[in-house]
Amino acid sequence: MTTSFRRRDYRPAALAWASLILVFCLVEALIRTGVLSVYVVPLPSSIVAAIPRVVAEESIGRRLLLTGGEALGASVLLIVVGTGLGILLYRSRLVRAATENWIAAFAAAPLILAYPLFLVIFGRNALTIVMLGFLAGLAPMILKTVEGLSIVRRSLLNVGRSFNLSEWDLFWKIHFPAAVPTIFTGIRLSLIFALINIFGLEFLINFGGLGQLINELAERYDLPGTYVAIGFVILVSVCFFIVIERLERWLRPGG
């Protein structure tokens, strides 16, 4: 018996990291030689040095909790309302046929541009951010729920019927669990839309957690701090996307 080992190729990752370090060194050299103005681009070393200061002085933990709370509020609304509306649409073929194209058009609408309207209706507070995040992610959540329920295998339903399950049991014991992986894709997509809008709106209306921090530091002309805050938002977004992607893969059959 032979044992084969498949070695993981680390060269692409090494190249990616080496490129990042090279860009950092190049920018540092260009600023120190006066080619780039330090008033436009801060020294990468000063950005790294600013990390502990921003974390300590700008209450990153509290801001993270605030943004997390907004994201959680929007997520709960999205999952409850989006899944509920998706189930209703699936069960009524007529309503689905009448509204599915509108929902798809709603998904393509640049809803965040209506943020001044949300400010007037809800005020400059967390509710505006939660509502915009929720509405931005609603369409994919509904569409993916309908899709998930529509593609359940007929044989699974036939097995349920052969056991004389009631319509209610058939739905909750077979239909819905079989649709969960696709519904989770909808949750992932809608949470991404919601998070983008939450960070963006916090920055635009200068309210809330991490998005507001960027605005505040930029208005104080704290360039290294602004870069750190932007880096922090990117880091949080990327971690969030990775976690939710892993969860989705875990939920998928054979994932």
């Binding site: 046929a97 009448a98 541009l113 943020y115 960070f199 938002v233 990327v238 996307f241």
Partner: protein, 261 residues
């Protein structure tokens, strides 16, 4: 012909399409009625929910206002520049990554994970680099549109049938000829789809940047209506902006389908 000669039969049930059309009309009519009832009820501030008549009048006013068209032209210029810069760089980067598995594995995760982050947070930096004029708005639009176009191009390049490339090689096509005679026609469908996504995001990025810091453009007009609390005009501008974005999206979707996407 007398009506008495027509036999009285039980009316046929409405077809599914007719019922769908009727339901659509009923939904639209109900929404308009609810809106008008809310506007006239006095339960909500009249300025926040203005009557449909007032919104339609404001829409008419915006459509004949030369200020709207001069600002629309500025936004169109910014979005056009954004999609040109973001499109060309996205196309180039996507082409390189699509052709090299090694480079794709090294750099595509950056595109994949940075793509969905909110680009508006880069606006303070872009103001420092490009100033407070249209340049920073176009730059934000370009940055926003770059990611979907690069990702779509890389994926499309990888999906090109290798037989086509071997045929090209047997005809001794140069790199440039291979690009515009084989790759471009083969990827035009997914590429149009990538540009469709890129254009939508470029519009959002540009207009959002205008609402944040600008003295011209559609975003500036919208935020002006907010500061002056001219809600009817805000609704009119938002409706027009949404209509333009949805129509452009639909037109590019149709083009992508025509190209086989």
């Amino acid at each position: 012909m007398s009506t008495a000669s027509i036999p009285l039969t039980k009316s046929a049930p409405l077809s599914f399409e007719t019922r769908v059309r009727s339901l659509k009309l009923a939904i639209v009519a109900s929404l308009l009625l609810i809106w008008e009832a809310m506007a006239r009820s006095g339960l909500l501030f009249e300025d926040v929910v203005p009557s449909i008549v007032v919104v339609v009048a404001a829409l008419g006013g915006v459509l004949v206002d030369p200020v709207f068209y001069s600002n629309l032209a500025i936004t169109a210029w910014e979005v056009g520049t954004a999609i040109l810069v973001g499109g060309v760089t996205g196309l180039a980067v996507g082409f390189v990554l699509g052709n090299s598995r090694f480079l794709s594995r090294a750099y595509e995760p950056f595109l994949y994970y940075l793509g969905p982050t909110p680009k508006i947070i880069f606006f303070p930096l872009l103001i420092m680099w490009f100033g407070i004029g249209p340049g920073s708005k176009a730059a934000l639009g370009a940055l926003s549109s770059f990611f979907p176009i690069a990702i779509a191009t890389a994926a499309a390049i990888r999906s090109v049938d290798p037989i086509l490339l071997r045929v090209g090689a047997s005809f001794r096509l140069s790199r440039w000829q291979t690009f515009y005679k084989i790759f471009l026609p083969a990827i035009r469908g997914p590429l149009t789809n990538g540009f469709r996504l890129g254009l939508g995001i470029a519009i959002i990025g540009t207009v959002l940047a205008e609402t944040k810091l600008s003295n011209q453009g559609i975003g500036y007009l919208i935020i002006q209506t907010y500061t002056t609390f001219n809600m009817a005009r805000m609704y009119a501008l938002l409706l027009l902006l949404f209509a333009i974005a949805i129509l452009l999206n639909a037109a590019l979707s149709r083009l992508a389908r025509r190209f086989g996407a």
